[in-house]
Structure formats: structure tokens, C-alpha cells
């Protein structure tokens, strides 16, 4: 049983978090032995968690410890609290949490948002926080009326004493409840009694996102705030040898030019002066060892690596022997490029380093690490560094950086110029700035028996690791295998008696990062495309072929069946339109998608419709699940149809949305989302919509044209009809 403590009279009141008094609840888990206060962090793994505040004005504020980057946590997490609190939803507000161990991710020992984990990891804790507050408000009312607590009930933000018809609002009781000791035995509602959880619920953050009032990192205003643009090396791993700032400083509005770890910062009154100043800056670069990096040569290198055995990620039976006995064998090479995240809001961070403290304003997914990076740079104590999490204009993993580089830059520049500074990345800086989804080459083979059933499966993945040598190495690397390289490939759901999946690690020549759905983003494409190849080799329907092999994986099967049924699998389509499907588990959820695609004579690809089914277990906000599936499908389509970062002479060849295109409304298919009714374990939704779309589209293209897509992005010129 986790413990709950009443913070109303403690630290947070003093620091003004709840002016005017009221009830604040803290929460801690067994083993931490520490109360939930804004005490200095000790790095404890199971640290305290989660808060809510109830003001005398009846407003219920849920302090959200996960970053809002579009995935809907500023609504879903308050819903959890509100359900058990029996709050009036119209009075519920959200607030971004500060940095404190109390706000650490439930599993990760650090404050972070990622891995599609926010809702399911908070599901119990936040409901308990709400339930505890409710019990205390009942106790406060019962004491006021001198009646038994059991004779009181709650109703949308009020305590009601049915026998006498008396009512008090939560706000009226907040001060009194603040003096009470929280209950330690908290009973949660039966899910059948839920009034809010499971119902389509409007997002709390929409109003401020339609009138320009929402404050993203880039919008932060601080008195005296300067803007810096940084000239970074044109080649990954390069360094500035020397620079001449004379012309840059001559640009009106440019204040200073300073060198930091990652480049030369031009600090100015505003963005435009900083940009013009950077253009006028002259830097001599030492381009470093990657000056010759070339994507064509890298392809050849990866193809050679694919011939060498890797570290075994999964082994069952004897794949080689079974392959030798197979009645029919197929094999293929699949290739996927580096991908930039390209969130709509270019990266930025504002920092104000002073002698006695440091403030940081940033849209980040990694609060603790970013704060600690600032501590290391400034020499200040952790409690002297205050990090404000702003709205994120998209994250997709790009704002979860183990090396904290975009925060470090701002802190270093502010420290150097002794003024508040906002470092802004241009779109070009973003597209060319590295931290990509790794390039990957897959060598894959399968053997079928005489009846057309899969007998052997051999899958070699060639890609770099981006968690080695980071704080995440311990969690991600097991028996020499990087989970983020092989996820979605080693846990094949289909029944295949002999199987070998191995990972041949490629050198990490460019910094890479988790890109929405991470390893699943390439592994699902390969596995689900190749499964279609197997179905074709077996002369079987791709849906029936998969379905027959999923008897031990009912959640995959149910999602697949629902998507196929809703899509009208097997029913005739207009001439030239092909239908393809894929099913994939990622982040504990199960998603199947059916795509309808046509290809013109000129090779122009049109995705007409995508039917998506998801089993993510119990549903919190069905509308958010639908939104995240739509979002994942678009994100995956952008990558499948256009996404590619390439190198020549060590330099990234793309720079903005004209040569790194993303899906526009003109190419938006009709997307239908269906949720599988499920009482199984809850999974995530932020990333899970991405993996199946590329293989579903590629399989549909095969159905439409007979041409197999084995390399992304899909190249229209390969599909021209001659």
C-alpha cells in the first residue's frame, strides 16, 4: 500500500504553490521512506509521486509530471484524478510539474516522458491520489456537520449529506481537509462505476491552442531575454578550429559572439539579428572523422555487415537446418534511412544563469537529466536550478536527449554572456542537426514446408546503437543486444518452429535517437512486409495466413480481425486499388491497420483509406486514442512516402520541408479507428499507431501493382508503369 501525506501545511504552501490555502496531497510509495516534498533529490528510484491541489475557489488543479507534446496527457492524467475524486470536470485544471524526485516517472527513476507510458504508469497512482482526497473531503464535511462519514456522499465537486440535504463544495472544505491525515487504505472504484474514464472527453488544453495563448518554449518571455543562434559543425563530430566574429558583431542587434562546446553562439536582441549575425560569422571547422560520410558507401558497408553474424537476440529450434529442409525458400534485403523527427516547433531552450540560481524554460521530455546538466555546468545545487516545462510543439523523441544538448547549449551561452538567453534552432539546424532514427539494413529469409506453413525464419538487423555509452545503456542493453534495435523483431507473434534473430551492430557515425516507435519503426516494416512475401510464396491470403499463426496471441488476432472486418477485407475494390494489412505489438498495445492504395501510371501513390484497430486494454479517453492513431498513421506515412536523411561529404543533404517533405492535407487518407473492447493490461497509444502503416501501405502497393517495396521511402519512379 502506498502512503499518502498531506502537504497542505508544508513546503509547497510556503513556496506559494497554492496561494490562499487549500488542500494539497502528496503521495509516496513504500520503500522511499520519504515524504513527498520539494526536498533535494537523492536520485532514489522509487521516489514519491503525484499531486493535486484543491483551492478555496473550487478549482482542482492536477499537477502533471509528464510533458504535453500533443499526446493528451494534460487531459488523460487529470481524468484519472477527477474520476476518483468525483470532481466537477469543468473545474479541473492542469499544471506542469516542477523538477523533483516526487515527480519521477513511476518506473524510470527520473522525470521523463516517453515510451508511450504516461497513462498506464500513472493509472493507479493518480486514481489513488484522487480517492484519498475524496475521503478527506468527506471526513471534513462529516466533522463540520457532526455526522458519520458513511452518511455522506460525493457528487461532482460537492459533499452531500442526503439525510439533511446539506451540501458543501470541495472548495468550501479545502481548508478543513488540509488539516486532516490522509487515509492509508484507499479503495478505488470498480471500473463499471466510472463516470469519466472511458468516455470521450474534450482536451483541457484545446482552448489555449486555438487563440495563440498557449506558451511553448519558443514563446517564453523573460525581461532582458536575448536570442542566440549557434553555428554548429557542418559535419557530425566536427569542431570549430577558429572563428572571426567581426562581421557578425557589425550586424545591428548582435550583442556578443561566444564559443561553447557545440559551436559558436551569436547572441542578439532577437531572432532576426542573431540569424543575420550567424550568416556573417566566419568559422574554420575541423570536420573530424566523418568528413567523408556518404550514404551510398554506407549502404554498401551495411550490406557487407549483413553477411556477418550478429549477437543473437532470439533463437528457437534450428533455423539453418530447417531452412535446408524447406520446400520453398525466400529471402530479401530491406533498407530504411535515417529520419529526422522534425517537430513543428524547432528546438529551443531559454536559460537564465545567475550567481545564485538558474532558471530554464524548455519543452523537454527529460526534465531530470536536463536539470542535472545545468547543475554540472553552473556548479549550482540542484535546488537552485528551476526548470519550467513549457508546452512542446511536438516531441516524437527529439526532446528526450540523453546528452541534454539543447539545454546545455542555452545554459552555457547564458552563463557566458551573464544574461537570460534563448537558443533557437532554425528548421535547417533541426533537419541537419543529427539525432536521427538510425539507418538500418535487414537481411531476412524464410522457409516454408510443403503445406505452405512457415518452418524457418532468419532475420539479421544491421543498425547502430544509440543507447551504448549513455545513462540508458544499463536498461536497454541485455546480453549484448540493444533492445531498441531489435524490438518488434525478436518477439515475433507468429508460430514459427525454427527462428533466429540477430543484431549486427553498425558503427555509430551520426548521433541517433528514439524516433516515435523507435526500433519498431523499422522492424515492423520488415517483418510485416516479409510476412506478406511469405503469404504470397505460400499462395495464401495475407489475412488468413497471419490469422492461422496467431492462436497463441489473441490480442494480435483480435486487432487483426477487427481491422479486417471493418475494412471489408476480401470485398472488391475499385480498379487499380490494392489493399494491404499489417499487425504489430508495440509499447504493450496491439494495432492492426488495413490500407487502400492506388498507384498511377506515373508512379504517383495515393493512400485512400486506412482502417485501424487497436487493443490497448482499458480505455481512458477514447477520443485521444483515435487522435493518436490518426497521428501515428500520418507520422508513419510521412516516413514511408518521403522521409530520408542522406549524407554526402559528411554533410546532410536535406535542410527544410521542401527536401524533407512531410504529409500534407492533400495526401491525407480517410482514417477510421476502432478500439477492441479489452480488459487486458493497459498499453500505450502515443507511438503504437506508427509501426503498422508503412508495411500496410507497401503490402497494398504489392496488391495493386505486383511490385514489392523493400526500401523506404517508397520511390514512385520504381512504380512507374512502362
Amino acid at each position: 500500500m502506498s502512503g499518502i501525506i498531506n502537504l497542505s501545511r508544508r513546503e509547497f504552501v510556503k513556496t506559494g504553490m497554492l496561494a490562499g490555502g487549500g488542500l494539497i496531497l502528496g503521495f509516496y510509495l513504500p520503500g522511499s521512506g520519504r515524504a513527498a516534498t520539494a526536498a533535494p533529490p537523492t536520485g532514489g528510484t522509487f521516489a514519491p509521486n503525484a499531486f493535486l491541489k484543491i483551492g478555496t475557489d473550487d478549482l482542482v488543479t492536477v499537477i502533471v509530471n509528464h510533458s504535453e507534446m500533443g499526446q493528451g496527457v494534460y487531459t488523460a492524467l487529470p481524468m484519472l484524478v477527477s474520476e476518483e475524486l468525483d470532481a466537477d470536470w469543468s473545474k479541473v485544471r492542469f499544471e506542469a510539474a516542477g523538477v523533483d524526485p516526487v515527480y519521477n516517472h513511476a518506473l524510470w527513476g527520473m522525470q521523463a516522458t516517453g515510451g508511450s507510458t504516461s497513462t498506464w504508469t500513472e493509472y493507479e497512482r493518480l486514481r489513488k491520489a484522487g480517492a484519498a482526497a475524496r475521503a478527506m473531503l468527506i471526513a471534513a464535511a462529516a466533522a463540520t456537520w457532526k455526522v458519520a462519514p458513511a452518511s455522506c456522499r460525493t457528487e461532482q465537486g460537492q459533499i452531500v449529506h442526503a439525510a439533511s440535504g446539506r451540501r458543501l463544495s470541495y472548495g468550501q472544505l479545502a481548508e478543513k481537509a488540509a488539516d486532516l491525515t490522509p487515509p492509508q487504505n484507499i479503495k478505488l472504484k470498480d471500473s463499471k462505476d466510472f463516470k469519466l474514464i472511458g468516455k470521450p472527453t474534450k482536451r483541457l488544453d484545446t482552448p489555449e491552442k486555438v487563440n495563440g495563448q498557449g506558451v511553448y518554449g519558443l514563446d517564453v518571455k523573460v525581461p532582458g531575454l536575448l536570442t542566440a543562434l549557434i553555428a554548429r559543425p557542418p559535419v557530425s563530430g566536427g569542431k570549430a578550429k577558429s572563428f572571426d566574429a567581426e562581421k557578425a558583431k557589425a550586424v545591428p542587434g548582435v550583442r556578443q559572439v561566444v564559443q561553447i562546446d557545440r559551436g559558436i553562439a551569436v547572441v542578439a536582441d532577437g531572432f532576426w539579428a542573431a540569424k543575420r549575425g550567424r550568416e556573417a560569422l566566419s568559422v574554420v571547422w575541423d570536420e573530424g572523422p566523418q568528413a567523408g560520410l556518404d550514404s551510398r558507401k554506407q549502404r554498401e558497408q551495411y550490406a557487407e555487415l549483413a553477411k556477418q553474424p550478429g549477437v543473437v537476440a532470439k533463437k528457437k529450434g534450428d533455423a539453418d537446418a530447417a531452412m535446408g529442409r524447406a520446400a520453398k525458400k525466400i529471402e530479401a534485403i530491406y533498407e530504411l534511412p535515417y529520419l529526422a523527427h522534425a517537430p513543428m516547433e524547432p528546438l529551443n531552450c531559454a536559460a537564465d544563469v545567475r550567481g545564485d540560481g538558474c532558471e530554464i524554460w524548455v519543452g523537454t521530455q527529460f526534465q531530470t537529466g536536463d536539470r542535472d546538466a545545468a547543475v554540472a555546468i553552473t556548479g549550482l545545487k540542484p535546488e537552485q536550478v528551476k526548470l519550467h516545462t513549457m508546452l512542446l510543439g511536438g516531441g516524437f523523441g527529439r526532446r528526450a536527449v540523453p546528452d541534454n544538448h539543447f539545454v546545455r547549449e542555452a545554459v552555457q551561452v547564458s552563463k557566458a554572456v551573464k544574461a537570460p538567453v534563448k537558443v533557437v534552432w532554425t528548421r535547417e539546424d533541426d533537419i541537419r542537426g543529427g539525432y536521427y532514427r538510425p539507418v538500418a539494413l535487414h537481411a531476412i529469409a524464410a522457409g516454408l514446408d510443403a503445406a505452405g506453413n512457415p518452418a524457418a525464419w532468419r532475420h539479421r538487423i544491421v543498425c547502430q546503437s544509440f543507447t551504448v555509452d549513455t545513462p540508458f545503456e544499463g536498461a536497454m542493453i541485455e546480453h549484448g543486444v540493444d533492445a531498441s534495435a531489435v524490438e518488434g523483431a525478436r518477439g515475433l507473434p507468429y508460430e514459427i518452429p525454427n527462428l533466429l534473430v540477430d543484431w549486427r551492430r553498425a558503427p555509430g557515425v551520426v548521433p541517433c535517437l528514439w524516433w516515435r516507435s523507435v526500433g519498431h519503426s523499422h522492424n515492423a516494416f520488415v517483418v510485416e512486409s516479409f510476412f506478406d512475401e511469405m503469404a504470397q510464396a505460400a499462395g495464401k491470403d495475407p489475412f488468413e495466413f497471419r490469422r492461422a499463426l496467431l492462436n497463441n496471441h489473441p490480442r494480435h488476432k483480435r486487432a487483426l480481425e477487427l481491422a479486417a472486418q471493418k475494412a471489408g477485407w476480401g470485398k472488391p475494390l475499385p480498379l487499380g486499388v490494392g489493399r494491404g494489412l499489417a499487425v504489430h505489438e508495440s509499447f504493450k498495445s496491439f494495432v492492426a491497420q488495413v490500407a487502400e492504395v492506388s498507384v498511377s501510371q506515373e508512379g504517383q501513390i495515393k493512400v485512400h483509406r486506412v482502417v485501424c484497430a487497436i487493443d490497448c486494454g482499458p480505455v481512458v479517453n477514447p477520443d485521444t486514442i483515435a487522435a493518436q492513431m490518426e497521428s501515428g498513421i500520418v507520422f508513419g506515412l510521412s516516413a514511408a512516402l518521403y522521409g530520408e536523411i542522406t549524407f554526402a561529404n559528411g554533410r546532410v543533404q536535406q535542410r527544410n520541408f521542401h527536401d524533407y517533405p512531410v504529409l500534407r492535407i492533400t495526401d491525407m487518407p480517410v482514417v477510421e479507428v476502432h478500439i477492441v473492447p479489452s480488459r487486458d493490461a493497459m498499453g500505450g497509444v502515443g507511438e503504437t499507431g506508427v509501426p503498422p502503416i508503412a508495411p500496410a501501405v507497401a503490402n497494398a502497393i504489392f496488391a495493386a501493382t505486383g511490385k514489392r517495396i523493400r526500401r523506404l521511402p517508397i520511390r514512385g519512379e520504381d512504380l512507374k508503369k512502362v
Binding site: 500533443g70 486555438v210 487563440n211 516531441g395 487522435a627
Partner: protein, 156 residues
């Protein structure tokens, strides 16, 4: 010195005439509802109205805006009451929300010129606005909804 009229208010700003309007709005006037996304008129996040026409403020020199009525998302309505803003809320369009000022400003010109747009009309008018979260389907729905509301006299 350049004189500007933004959201019915007059300002005098001391900036170079080639400074993009976007940065005058954001850095000089503090109107940060208009967003920076690409700097090359490729994504539409910076869309504002110049005398009622949608322009990409990231490539519009401030000198071009002189003497014109500039409207930003902050000035589209006083209270988020524009039918598009209400429709955006009703359809829960935004996710990260960063592109939405530009989307709504583009849609506002479309609706004024074409009160009952088809899907194809919407796609054509909105093709310059990127949404990386992929809310396009909801944008279409919301524009249709706003068109209906406006048709019923809901416009202000």
C-alpha cells in the same frame, strides 16, 4: 521607424525594413501566437492576414506590411468566438497545437471566400499548412463545421 497596425492597434517599431514580419510580431511586439516553423514559407505556421489576405509572415518583409491591416491569431476574435476557433474546440483538433494558429488563419480566409467549401476546396486552401501531429482529418471536419455554423448566423 515603421508604423504598423496590428489587430486594430497602432505601433511604431524601430526595425530594419527587410526584417520578416514574423519576428517583428514575435520579438518586437510580443505577439507570440504566430509561430516560427520553417522560415521559408513551406509550413504555414506563421500565417497572418495582411488586409485580409493570408501571407506567410516569415518571408514577408515588415516594410510590405506598412499601411496595411495586420491580423494575427490574437486578433481573429476577442474571445475565441470565431466559428473556426469554436469548431476547432468542438472537434478537438489540436494535439501539440503548435501549427494551429497558422491553420486557423489560413482557414479563415478560405471560409470568407468560400462559405461552403468541399473537401477538395479545403485541401487546396490548406495545402500550405503542415501539421506534424497529423490532425488533417479533424481540420477538414472542423472547417465544415465552422462553415455550417457561419451559415446559420454563428459568425461574428
Amino acid at each position: 521607424m515603421i508604423k504598423l497596425k496590428v489587430n486594430r492597434k497602432e505601433y511604431t517599431v524601430d526595425v530594419g525594413p527587410d526584417t520578416p514580419l514574423l519576428w517583428v510580431l514575435r520579438d518586437t511586439l510580443g505577439l507570440t501566437g504566430t509561430k516560427f516553423g520553417c522560415g521559408m514559407a513551406l509550413c504555414g505556421a506563421c500565417t497572418v492576414h495582411l488586409d485580409g489576405e493570408a501571407v506567410r509572415s516569415c518571408v514577408t518583409p515588415v516594410s510590405r506590411a506598412e499601411g496595411k491591416e495586420i491580423t494575427t491569431i490574437e486578433g481573429l476574435s476577442l474571445d475565441s468566438g470565431h466559428p473556426l476557433q469554436q469548431a476547432w474546440i468542438a472537434e478537438d483538433v489540436p494535439q501539440c497545437g503548435y501549427c494551429m494558429s497558422g491553420q486557423i488563419m489560413s482557414a479563415a480566409v478560405l471560409l470568407r471566400e468560400n462559405p461552403r467549401p468541399s473537401d477538395a476546396d479545403i485541401d487546396a486552401a490548406m495545402a500550405g499548412n503542415i501539421c506534424r501531429c497529423g490532425t488533417y482529418q479533424r481540420i477538414r471536419r472542423a472547417i465544415h463545421l465552422a462553415a455550417r455554423t457561419q451559415g446559420q448566423g454563428g459568425a461574428r
